[in-house]
Symmetry: C2
Subunit: 329 residues, 2 copies
């Protein structure tokens, strides 16, 4: 029998990542198109349909080669219907994304949150290594999360599950967060949070590597901090230990409740590798139940920007492919 392809689509505010993915989860072809946010985002599904058509033609394949589309989108989504309540960066409001994309492409579509499909991608083909109970923590501009339990993404009652960036780590006196609360994990453990923590205490460490950088450039990045740790800078170490105390405690508390097999750390900050993982695991092991800690392995995410499209393909494989769903084109 001819092998079929899954389509993974990962929608961001500036680009749409797309891929044809084999039944085993290998990327056959991947490409990007710009996100057109004019016209309240209403051109996007047409753009995706056209890009699919063009790419098929270039590869000399027909639409029958494709099983369906698994797509990750930002914002608040009603999972069962693929209806977007609101996606601020895109311009959608009460938008029937699944319906519109099925109409434009003639293919069955399944939609999920962008952080969730990245977690599914890592579970299937990345650092998750097939673990069915998985916690994904993305340390980027913000702190995102995806929780997989028994092989299924947790969505919760109104699609908010996995919002671990908004776990309150400083109940009093914390920094304001974009969500309207204060003291969220995101204000401390995101790339911007780490830089903020380091800059806030820089006066206490005038003879540090970081103080030199701060004096010259007027700012710090999370990369500066991990680079300084590698150079043996004590202040940078102190900052990373402080971050890892809060992040490790938050992850341990969550792990005591969901008992994951794998804890995958992704996002830009995860490029620090063991400079981050070693103090993080130490903090985690202090606060997790011994049997929970024994059952959990930490790993750095391995799929990078491909996690989303691979997770989208996983959704097609597990949610659409079995149904033999046919949509008239």
């Amino acid at each position: 029998m001819m092998e079929k392809w899954y389509v993974g689509v990962d929608l961001g505010g500036t680009t749409i990542k797309m891929a044809f993915i084999s039944e085993k989860g290998n990327i056959v072809e991947k490409w990007e198109i710009p996100t057109d946010i004019t016209n309240e985002g209403k051109n996007i599904t047409k753009d995706i349909a056209k890009a699919l058509q063009d790419q098929l033609q270039e590869l000399g394949e027909k639409k029958e080669k494709l099983v369906g589309i698994g797509m990750g989108a930002p914002g608040f989504i009603e999972m069962e219907t693929g209806f977007i309540y609101q996606a601020v960066n895109i311009g959608w409001r009460n938008y029937p994304l699944k319906e519109s994309l099925e109409e434009e492409t003639g293919l069955p579509v399944i939609i999920d949150n962008d952080a969730n499909i990245a977690a599914l991608g890592e579970m299937w083909r990345g650092a998750g290594d097939g673990a069915k109970d998985l916690l994904c923590v993305t340390l980027g501009t913000g702190v995102g999360g995806g929780i997989v339990a028994n092989g299924e993404i947790l969505h919760g009652t109104n699609g908010m599950a996995g919002e671990i960036g908004h776990i309150t780590v400083l109940p009093e006196g914390g920094t304001p967060c974009n969500c309207g609360k204060t003291g969220c994990l995101e204000t401390i453990a995101s790339a911007t949070g780490i830089a903020r923590v380091a800059a806030a205490g820089i006066k206490e460490a005038p003879y540090s590597v970081l103080a030199d950088i701060f004096q010259k450039s007027g700012e710090l990045t999370s990369k500066d901090i991990f680079d300084a740790v590698e150079q043996g800078d004590l202040y940078a170490k102190e900052v990373v230990n402080h971050i890892c105390f809060h992040l490790g405690l938050a992850i341990a508390n969550l792990a005591n409740a969901i008992n994951p097999e794998k804890i995958v750390i992704g996002g830009g900050v995860s490029k620090a590798g063991n400079l981050l993982l070693t103090p993080l695991q130490k903090s985690f092991e202090t606060y997790a139940l011994p049997r929970v800690a024994e059952g959990s392995d930490f790993a750095i995410a391995t799929l990078g920007n491909d996690a989303g499209v691979i997770g989208g393909a996983w959704l097609v494989k597990t949610k659409l492919a079995k149904k033999d769903k046919v949509i008239p084109s």
Copy 2:
């Protein structure tokens, strides 16, 4: 067609609660037998089988009336095989509970953790009101928990999911917990924890209702504290606010990750009703994301000691009844 019954069994250290339960979840008959922990707990499955036989005879029914047994047990359980690694209070160690009970009764058996079946019971017929995403928190001698996501209990990778009593709420300087860590939620929000917190600060409040009780009896119970709140005692109020600050924060942080529809509070402490719920919800709403808080309702558990047997029956209904499993007797 003749209605069949489910058997719910809830094993405790001193008694075994048993019930015949209708297909709709109503208790037809319930009774208890003592837990025989002699002979390393090896008489227990025989005792259960005999109790079933006796009760059937008394009701003039035959074994064919029974679909199967759903049983809750304490300790570390391998869910798929119903194998007990260790149950200290019972005496079991590497004990094939499911296999032994199937052999003794000739009925199919499904085993789960006792806190988990109580959560399933509340979901099906109690305060959970059918919610498919549910967090159950039991405030008793300890703090237990059960998490239901999409209608299924979370077990985690080695059966430890739901151990929310061991969320660390005081990372430094906390009271030692039975688990070997310090500063666990259980050391503060269990019945014993609440009494301990109140006793620890009693010298600061010599003119309180609680100080009078403490002077007379040399001890405090969690009931004393809520009774004193009802009498308007300021110190007791302060203690309850302190407990609810920590408990509400821990539940909010968990809710940001799992986004439950219902949060059911059970156990002896939950008898305090709104004296507990009102400050607890206030603390929860301070730390939960607004959309998460909107989606969540708090409720006091309604099934009391029946939650376990009803949850056991739910397991039979959802996991065994569909399979038409036949075991030669």
